[in-house]
Symmetry: C2
Subunit: 385 residues, 2 copies
């Protein structure tokens, strides 16, 4: 098994790209990553995407994107794990390089959601949950997260306002990210006045639907010097799953798959919690940010919001999260999100995060969550070998 | 990189499974493969599927199937490459084992199509083609194959009836396969009288939409003796892509991706054409059988139907194809088909193909095609190390 590194990154701004098709968005991110890596070929392409069939009537994205990118002929495939599709594509690219079968590999995540923000999209996103045992009751994906948040507030005696710091931090960081969908800070008052979508989830607890694509180029660590002097190394890659239905979990208040994949990742990277300089977590909803911090060990059970209240999740805190805006402010083009997180981690570790730069960042962690916690993929990166 | 072998196989009958959900079908095949391999765990699960989002409103099949199979927690993901999704899932499972990261790996292909054989399914299948440049003109996936067949007949001066031997051979073989959807031989007269769907493609040129699932268990070759004395070894695994749009190919009459992936596979396996004892090809339409035989080198350009006319594709011919009925008679649950082909190849190489057994079969080849030729995945298997 070979060590694997990242030699190039690319992304499109997140937003409403009505003038670009899904292949075009993927191409923009991918070609920018190839330029960044200074390579013009690849052995394989992994496309992370969830909804292209449902929204764009287009399956078969592997071949479609490869051809449009001028790479006709290469091995290409789509990988899907609901909202964790981006990190899942990265994971397969990582395995491809680690295996020795593929040398230069592209992982691109792409989603085009805003062509239909009505019933098709709501139904498509509900496919991340259990169609037979959850969605059949008429519950949307937002409503499932609202149920989790309700239960959390009841169980741990916290209030709606206790989740505000997650949204405020994300928007504060997003304000300095030129690729973020919302480049605007928000206040506590604005958070409290935000319209409720599914009680208690408000617009400012929820990440926005969006279009976007992000890409990275991977190669064996032993070859990075041919391409760049700023390679970022993959120190850990771990996936775990759980029941798709929330009601079927041993403990709905515990992201078992985050616990398993994060702790597996710490062991692989041979690091402890304190070594993590920043954490790009999956704040699709503020409740998921709290649950992720707890399952990964950064906060005690039920105390994720305390960490946020104490300012420890900001760029100067103990564990900075969503440093470039997170899903909340950067936006959440579902199948692309996992790769945006990785691109942003690489920016931090290269020292290219501009106003969002975490000083002396050496080790960064990303975590992409599919559904309400059924697929959780954790990666750890470092700028040191 | 480690050598990889297959230690277990499982499948459901192909047909209309209205009483079973998609997770149940996948479970039936997967659990039967685990029993066959005599293992009750796995490190990872790869699910090949094309249409679960569109037809069943269910994405996220990796976690869903893992949990339903009693494997909650393991790494699991869905892989999609249109009609080649089954072999694409196998390919990722193969890479996982080859890499050394995963030891016991399940690849399962599953599709549930017959819940909606109307507009949803027609639109979903069209997603294998190019939504923006082909489907936008109102052409269905069958119509695209009809255009290919029209052009082939014009170009090479062959007639509709010249394709009959492909369907007759498939149905003759399917008659002895207890898992085939159509266990009934057909005559030349029946072929000629079959209703035309999209001129010149008739019902007996086209494979049927169906529900089904097939699965295999892979492990490193060095470990097979722990599990079985009838392991089948993966001698080659190769993927190539092409333009998704037919009009954009250099030569619409040549499956470039079949040519590339097959010849790469021959080199990997270090064999010549004559060493292949049987070939499970992708006869979604009879025209695809002819084009596949030509691109892989078994027939000269334009002479695929001649090989069929001369009886060389039957079990006693030079290159037996679709030995258990192929897509035409076994049925074509799209995302499962690639794994049915591999399961059938394993049956042949184990000597378990019953009335369809190819005597002394040592080397078998499978080829799964996505779209009208945009993703082509070729595997070669042997019962000898």
């Amino acid at each position: 098994m070979r060590d694997v590194s990242i030699i190039g990154i690319g992304q499109t701004p997140v937003g409403e790209h009505w003038a670009k098709s899904i292949r075009h968005l993927a191409y923009d991110a991918l070609s920018s990553a190839l330029r960044d890596a200074k390579v013009d070929y690849a052995d394989a392409l992994y496309v992370g995407n969830m909804l292209s069939g449902e929204i764009s009537g287009q399956s078969h994205l592997g071949a479609l994107v490869a051809d449009f990118a001028g790479l006709r002929g290469i091995e290409a495939v789509k990988v899907e794990a609901a909202c964790a599709s981006g990190a899942a594509a990265f994971r397969q690219a990582y395995i491809g390089v680690a295996s020795g079968l593929q040398d230069i590999v592209i992982a691109v995540g792409v989603e085009k959601m805003t062509d239909d923000v009505g019933s098709k999209l709501t139904a498509g996103l509900a496919g991340a949950a259990d169609a037979d045992y959850e969605v059949v009751h008429g519950v949307s994906f937002v409503a499932l997260n609202a149920l989790l948040m309700q239960r959390y507030m009841y169980e741990y005696k916290v209030k709606r306002e206790d989740f505000a710091p997650f949204a405020i931090n994300a928007h504060q960081n997003g304000a300095h990210n030129p690729n973020a969908m919302f480049q605007k800070a928000i206040t506590y008052q604005e958070f409290m006045k935000a319209g409720v979508i599914a009680d208690p989830v408000s617009l400012l607890d929820a990440s926005p639907m969006a279009d976007g694509a992000a890409a990275v180029i991977l190669c064996p660590t032993e070859r990075v010097r041919e391409f760049t002097d700023k390679a970022i190394h993959v120190k850990a890659s771990a996936v775990a799953t759980d029941s798709v239905s929330i009601h079927d979990r041993h403990d709905p208040m515990w992201l078992q798959a985050a616990d398993i994949s994060a702790h597996k990742a710490y062991r692989q990277a041979n690091i402890g919690l304190r070594d993590v300089d920043f954490f790009e977590l999956h704040d699709a909803f503020t409740i998921m940010a709290a649950l992720s911090l707890e399952a990964c060990g950064f906060a005690e059970r039920g105390k994720g919001t305390w960490l946020a209240r104490d300012g420890e999740i900001t760029p100067t805190g103990k564990i900075p999260i969503t440093t470039r805006g997170g899903l909340k402010a950067r936006g959440h083009p579902v199948g692309a999100t996992g790769l945006y997180q990785i691109v942003e981690a690489v920016q931090q570790l290269r020292g290219e995060a501009e106003a969002n730069q975490i000083p002396n960042a050496r080790i960064g962690m990303t975590q992409n969550i599919g559904g309400s916690g059924a697929t959780i993929i954790t990666h750890i990166f470092s700028n040191q070998l």
